[in-house]
């Protein structure tokens, strides 16, 4: 399948659960017995193409990737004989989440059908005396919106909007490449600490992964749990 086709598909998914459900249904897998390493592999392959999605969504997809890898590693761990009976299946929480998601997707479809039928139903036009009466049956939301309108009107001094400078993935990759002009080793902990927002953090992470994939940099960890460095190739 071409990359373009993948990207169009990813847009269709509401979130990580949706993508996961798609992968499971595509391979006609039993939801209660997910071959976790197969699904994890497929999932990771799909989110590799995530870079064009907005960053908030990307973060959510990455979080699910981490969950899948965590479950996979738990399933690989040998369990002692006594432990086996008590240890719940590491997949059970995910299975629960997936089946809930599936139920609500079905419920959403039911609602859609109902609304389509109701759109074909019309009621009497307002009588003349309702039209003169512009009164509304107010809810709490109307109340807070009305209050906000008052506050907005009160803002006499013009507010200068400063657009947050949002760096794209491409720009971040360029920025990291530039660092390697003057050095051949970048401390990733420092690189991440310098990020000013969650979004920038995700972009930076994706940029490092992309550079590693392209073999522009290599990742090196000298000791377990130590600092990870990016090295120029």
């Amino acid at each position: 399948m071409s990359e373009v086709a993948y990207q169009i598909k990813l847009d269709v998914f509401e979130g990580p659960l949706d993508l996961l459900l798609y992968l499971i249904q595509k391979d006609k897998i039993d939801i209660c017995d997910i071959p976790i390493s197969h699904v994890t592999e497929q999932y990771l392959e799909h989110i590799r193409l995530l870079q064009d999605l907005d960053m908030e969504a990307a973060g959510e997809f990455l979080l699910m990737a981490a969950t899948l890898i965590h479950i996979k590693s738990k399933m690989l761990l040998p369990t002692t004989k006594e432990g086996k009976a008590e240890e719940p299946d590491p997949r059970s929480e995910l299975v629960q989440q997936l089946s809930e998601h599936k139920k609500f997707k079905a419920a959403a479809e039911m609602l859609l059908l109902r609304s389509v039928v109701q759109q074909e139903v019309f009621t009497r036009a307002s009588l003349e005396n309702d039209e003169k009466n512009t009164e509304v049956a107010a809810t709490v939301i109307d109340l807070i919106e009305a209050f906000k309108r008052v506050l907005d009107r009160r803002k006499t001094s013009p507010v200068i909007e400063i657009a947050l400078e949002e760096m794209s993935l491409e720009q971040k990759i360029e920025q990291i490449k530039t660092m390697f002009v003057s050095t051949d080793r970048v401390n990733l902990t420092q690189l991440f600490d310098a990020c000013s927002s969650k979004r920038e953090l995700v972009v930076t992470l994706l940029a490092v992964l992309e550079l590693a994939k392209e073999d522009v940099i290599a990742l090196l960890q000298e000791v377990h749990f130590g600092v990870i460095y990016a090295l120029k190739r």
Binding site: S126, E135, A138
Partner: protein
């Protein structure tokens, strides 16, 4: 087209129209039906409403057709319209109520300052509907009356207490996202 089906189509069109619907308007929606057939359907429909002693009638008025209530039921209508639920508010009253809800206790001059327009008729409406109540006097020049929301306000807006009102910050978080 069968007369019974035509009658139903004509009935729904007369029902939804916000002013008496003219024959030409019906013809435009039913290009395959002759003017005579439409007229026959309208007359028969009117006869049906009369025959079953409905509270409603189909009649020709001001060059068009409409469904309206029969005059003999108007006392019930008046009584219904008088008893309509009172949570309905004009935009000005809603805005004034919002200010009082979020800034209480607050005086009339303070509300004027926030809204930039006189709010005395809105305040009268809110007092009439018992949505606001006086909450003592402010210790300043002229000792103006302060207002706050009432128990009736909580009931009408489905709130247990004032802390259940969403804060401006919570609302903005949703709006800005």
């Amino acid at each position: 087209m069968e007369l019974s089906k035509l009658k139903s189509i004509v009935e729904v069109l007369v029902f939804v129209s916000n002013e008496p619907i003219r024959l030409e308007q019906l013809e435009a929606v039913l290009p395959q039906v002759s003017r005579e057939q439409i007229l026959a359907a309208l007359n028969e429909l009117a006869g049906d409403y009369d025959a079953r002693g409905s509270g409603l009638e189909v009649c020709e008025i001001a060059g068009g057709w409409r469904i309206s209530t029969r005059p003999e039921y108007h006392e019930y209508l008046r009584s219904y319209l008088k008893k309509k639920p009172s949570a309905r508010l004009s935009p000005a009253a809603l805005e004034t109520l919002a200010i009082i809800a979020y800034k209480q206790p607050i005086t009339i001059p303070e509300i004027l300052e926030l809204r930039g327009v006189s709010s005395s008729s809105a305040i009268k409406t809110l007092l009439d509907k018992r949505l606001i109540v006086p909450k003592g006097r402010k210790e300043c020049v002229g000792r103006p009356i302060m207002y706050g929301t009432s128990r009736e306000f909580l009931i009408q807006f489905g709130l247990k207490d004032l802390s259940e009102l969403p804060s401006i910050e919570e609302f903005e978080e949703l709006v800005s996202s």
